[in-house]
Symmetry: C2
Subunit: 387 residues, 2 copies
């Protein structure tokens, strides 16, 4: 009686993450070469830029440079206006901005062969990425990340998202970009705080996947703190490479429960939210790494010496390792709600990555709150010793 | 100086389109078997139903039956409420409904391992599909199409969408469902208009891909008009099979410009919009098929006899073959704007499917408006002869 038809197909996704300096210099043909390679006979392709207001402020000539670039190279038609949106969580917290970008895609006639390019930090890329993914069921999306964090991590991956009722990234899709362009000139104007903040994802990926990278971070911590650009470029490229590898070798659209790249993130997401995003994502991840590393040590999975190396590196790079909201009084401490929200976001089953060595992560399905309390107390003590 | 990392991966998508009768009868284990096969150890999966108000009216016991079904089979936990939304273009025209469904996904704690099931016509499935695709970056989506049109065409594919500023399907994604369940009991309560309306997509797919299916339609037109259910089930299954084949053998997420399945659709989309959706999609597609078939005949691509067979079949099934808005006065006739909108939706290059035989489509990149005018006049004359 019952009968069925079977559907089965695969979709291939390909894109490059480019590293350059001065993307919109007339002498730099990289972006134009990319657009030229994808020219379609008989079609006038367009490009619309969405620009992070903070980046526009730090680079007052940027809009003029973009205009001059597309005057010089007429491969694609630049939309009449460059769209400015605020950076940080503000753009993700208000559904207005996503709708505003979708509106401009409509207004400027950006179609499925045209481009929405976003220049900015992770939040602007996450928001514009969602707009691009749903308008016309997906217009081509170019990402131009401007922070350490977005150049080495969020900007090179396949996810976008905005917040919904204070739930981080509740709305989003998996939508690989057409290309990513990492331009190191954007890094030179970052505040010290943003320069530092993005390095926590590199520490994270080193801890769970790449022990040699962790050694390199220890060796180069001083140069990184001193804002040496070539050293930072190396960090970004190695971190981005690990991130891309992880996506392609695993479960790119996360149909399962595993999220090994989210080491240190369950508490980080919650801390950001509890502090109304006054603690940045990178800062929160550094504290989350500290907490779950000490926890891994208390469980006996890594040695005291390894825990010390991790905490030392975080401190040498200038990270805070704990926060008053990380002090757990009892089982109903607000931070612990983060475990439940993480469980729900993953899809019902808690999967947390802990460490079994520097360079090696391991998934577990529960956290012992008393041990977490002990870990947070230990962190507080370590922090007091430094101060 | 320039350097890059290459990303490349494939994602496999699989789902079944089931055919059944009485999906929520306690004696029918099909849905429960599906849910049971996908049970995940240690996780309480949930299911939230979104139901087309029109279907709820025609099937007053449906909500009770769903409740009884999930009382009997406790494989997954039924959300406390069944969410009702209006059917037809209304649900797609107002962004409120998409947001409302996303809200309920949040309220009932539907996570990435839980299900949003939608029961209804194509519009409800399109809207709920988008909600499911973006909440948590995609919760599992089950489609239960209730009309001929959604069971044979839109409901079995990989697209979702809502309208935006009167542009049809401007916002949407490509998101394959977890499964589709076609229940023929829903067909028994359709109005004659809806029963008929959905058959135009079957005629379309027969014309461009399956000449034998067209012969079958000619042979069975009387039974189809007389609402013979087994005959309709055959039509639906054959049409759905052709649709699924097309998706997997072509360009499932439509990265190119070709849209061969959209034969007859450029004018249909515009006609729906111009009549404020008083002409249904299926009715508009029938008229669009008539127009592009006569146009194919005038170009000499198919014979007079073939044109006559197509028009005869449409008329025998009870379709109108033209509409006052299809009368083209000059180059600025509103219907012709549909060519431009179709071009933009495809991405800059017009690609229209015409016929070279019954059962064989061919893509062209332009339409001659004077020949279109002639085609519309010929249709009007044919229509007058019938009346």
């Amino acid at each position: 009686m019952h009968d069925y038809l079977e559907q089965s197909f695969s979709v291939k996704f390909e894109y490059r993450v480019h590293f350059t300096s001065g993307l919109f210099d007339i002498t730099n043909t990289l972006l134009n070469d990319f657009l030229n390679d994808r020219k379609i006979e008989g079609i006038q392709q367009k490009i619309l830029f969405v620009l992070d207001e903070g980046v526009a402020k730090s680079h007052p000539n940027l809009v003029d440079k973009i205009n001059a670039y597309f005057d010089h190279f007429s491969t694609v038609k630049l939309a009449e206006n460059i769209v400015l949106v605020p950076g940080g969580e503000k753009v993700k917290n208000h559904s207005y901005y996503n709708e505003f970008i979708i509106n401009t895609i409509n207004d400027y006639g950006i179609d499925r062969h045209s481009y929405l390019a976003a220049i900015g930090g992770g939040s602007v890329l996450d928001t514009a990425g969602l707009s691009a993914a749903v308008a016309h069921r997906g217009v081509k999306h170019i990402r131009i990340p401007t922070t350490v964090l977005s150049q080495n991590d969020s900007g090179v991956g396949v996810k976008n998202g905005v917040n919904f009722k204070s739930k981080k990234n509740f709305m989003g899709t998996f939508a690989p970009p057409a290309a990513v362009f990492n331009d190191d000139q954007f890094l030179t104007t970052l505040t010290d705080r943003d320069w530092r903040s993005g390095m926590s994802e590199a520490i994270k990926v080193a801890l769970i996947k790449d022990g040699d990278f962790f050694n390199w971070l220890e060796t180069n911590a001083t140069d990184l703190s001193a804002r040496d650009l070539p050293t930072m470029n190396y960090l970004i490229k190695r971190c981005a490479a690990r991130h891309l590898e992880h996506i392609r070798s695993g479960d790119p659209f996360e149909t399962g429960s595993a999220r090994p790249l989210d080491f240190g993130h369950w508490s980080a997401h919650k801390l950001e939210q509890l502090t109304n995003f006054e603690v940045t994502h990178g800062e929160a991840v550094a504290m989350g790494i500290a907490l779950d590393s000490v926890y891994s040590g208390l469980k006996g999975n890594i040695s005291e010496d390894e825990v010390r190396r991790i905490i030392d590196l975080l401190l040498r790079l200038g990270f805070a390792i704990t926060h008053p909201l990380m002090e757990l009084q009892d089982e109903s401490s607000p931070l612990l709600l983060g475990l439940n929200e993480f469980r729900e976001h993953l899809g019902g089953r808690l999967t947390i990555t802990l460490l079994t060595a520097i360079g090696k992560g391991q998934e577990v399905n529960e956290m012992d709150w008393l041990l977490l309390k002990k870990a947070s107390e230990k962190l507080k003590a370590l922090d007091a010793k430094v101060a």
